[in-house]
Amino acid sequence: MEYRNVLTTCIYCGVGCGLYLQVLDGQVVGTWPAKGHPLNDGRLCVKGWYAHSFIHHPERLTTPLIRDQKGGPLRQASWEEALDRVAQRLMAIRETHGPDAIAFMASAKCTNEENYLLQKLARSIIGTHNVDHCARL
C-alpha cells in the first residue's frame, strides 16, 4: 500500500490556493488544504475541497474530439489533427469575415504566461482585441 500527498495549486480560480492531492496506490483519492501556505493557510472553498474529483472521472475527456460535419458524431482525434483543424478554420474565418469575427477566452486555470501567450496570439497573429476571460462568462 502506497499513500502520499502531492503539493499542487488549485485549478479552479485565479487565487491559486495550495493544496495536496492524496494519492493512494496510484489513484488520486482526495484533497487536503495546505497548512502554512501563504495564500490559504489550510483553508479551501468548496471547489478546492473537491479539486481531485474530475481526475479519474469516467466522463473526463482525455483526447480532443472532432465533428467531421455539422451535426455529425464526435470522434476521438490526436492533438496534432485537432490543432491543425482549429488553425485552418480560424484562418478561413479571418479571411472571409475579418479578424474581429474571432474572440479569445483566457482562463483563470492557466498561468499568467499562458494567458499572455493567448492574447499575443489574438493580437499579433489574428489581429483582434477581442480578448476576454472565463470569469466573466
Binding site: 499513500y3 500527498n5 503539493l7 493512494l24 497548512k35 502554512g36 490559504n40 489550510g42 483553508r43 472553498c45
Partner: protein
C-alpha cells in the same frame, strides 16, 4: 535527543518489528508538512510533527482500502481519542492499528487551546497540562439573546465550503444531511440559520474530541469549537460521557446509556 528524532526512532522500531505494513505520520514538504505512509526501509529523515493533519481520518480510509492491512500511526492525544470514538462506531478496528503515542508541547497546546494535549500513554514528549479556551468563558458571560446575536453574526460569514464537515475524523456518514435540500437549500449563501451549523453541532455530541481541525479549516474564522466544547461539557454533566476517554464507555446516545442515566 530532539523530540522528532525520538519519534523517528519509535517509528523505525515499529516498522522493523514487522507488526505493520506502514506507519502513517507527517512528512516535511517545503515549509509545511503533509500526511505520508512510511514503509520499512524508508528514510525517516523527513518525518516531521507539525502542522498536524487529521491522521485518524486518513487511517480509516487506508484500513478500508485493504481489509487485511495492519498499520501504525503517530498519534497525539486528540488523534488517539478520535480513533477510539471511530472504533466504537465500527469505522476502524483497533486490532489492526499500532500507535506511537506523542504528547504535545506547550506551544502546540496553546495553538489549539487544547484542554487535553496528551494521549493515554506517552512514548515521546512530556505531558503538559491542558488549557481552557478563553473564548468559551467569554461566551458563557453572554445572555441568551447576546449568544443568538453572536452566532447569527458568525454563521452569516459561512461560505458553505463544507470544510468543517469534510476535515472532521468524526464525520463519516455516507450521506450527509447538510447536503439534503430539505435542511440546507443548494446554491444559497449563507446557509440557513441556525440549522446548518446546529445540525453539525448536535452531530458532534459524544464524538467530538476537540482536535481543532474544523476550526483551523474554516475560511471564515468561525469559532466552531466553542459550541462543540460546550456540548461536550453538557454531555459529561448529563451522561458522564467523555469522548475518547475509553473504548469501553458507551456513547451517550446508545440506548443503554440513556437507560442507565435515567433519560
Amino acid at each position: 535527543m530532539e523530540r522528532v528524532a525520538l519519534v523517528r526512532e519509535a517509528v523505525k522500531r515499529l516498522l522493523d518489528s514487522g507488526q505493520v505494513e506502514g506507519v502513517l505520520a507527517l512528512r516535511t514538504v517545503g515549509p509545511g508538512s503533509a500526511p505520508h505512509l512510511f514503509h520499512p526501509g524508508d528514510s525517516l529523515d523527513d518525518l516531521t510533527l507539525w502542522p498536524k493533519y487529521p491522521l485518524p481520518k486518513i487511517l480509516d480510509m487506508l484500513l478500508a482500502a485493504d481489509p487485511s492491512v495492519r498499520l501504525g500511526m503517530v498519534a497525539r492525544g486528540c488523534e488517539e481519542r478520535g480513533l477510539i470514538e471511530m472504533a466504537k462506531r465500527n469505522q476502524v478496528d483497533m486490532n489492526r492499528i499500532r500507535l506511537v503515542y506523542l504528547a504535545c508541547t506547550a506551544e502546540e497546546r496553546d495553538e489549539c487551546c487544547c484542554s487535553w494535549p496528551y494521549p493515554s500513554q506517552i512514548d515521546v514528549g512530556d505531558k503538559v497540562e491542558g488549557t481552557a479556551d478563553a473564548l468559551v468563558a467569554e461566551h458563557e458571560r453572554l445572555s441568551l439573546a447576546e449568544r443568538t446575536e453572536f452566532w447569527k453574526r458568525q454563521f452569516a460569514r459561512c461560505i458553505k465550503c463544507y470544510g468543517c464537515r469534510t476535515v472532521c475524523p468524526q464525520c463519516f456518514c455516507e450521506t450527509c444531511v447538510l447536503e439534503d435540500n430539505l435542511w440546507v437549500e443548494a446554491g444559497v449563501l449563507a446557509p440557513p440559520f441556525p440549522s446548518y451549523h446546529l445540525i453539525r453541532a448536535y452531530h458532534t455530541i459524544g464524538k467530538c474530541v476537540g482536535c481543532m481541525e474544523c476550526e483551523n479549516a474554516c475560511p471564515a474564522d468561525i469559532p466552531l469549537t466553542v459550541l462543540y466544547t460546550l456540548l461536550r461539557r453538557d454531555a459529561e454533566e448529563m451522561f458522564g460521557y467523555v469522548p475518547g476517554r475509553s473504548l469501553e464507555d458507551l456513547p451517550p446516545l446508545a440506548v443503554e446509556t440513556l437507560w442507565q442515566t435515567g433519560h
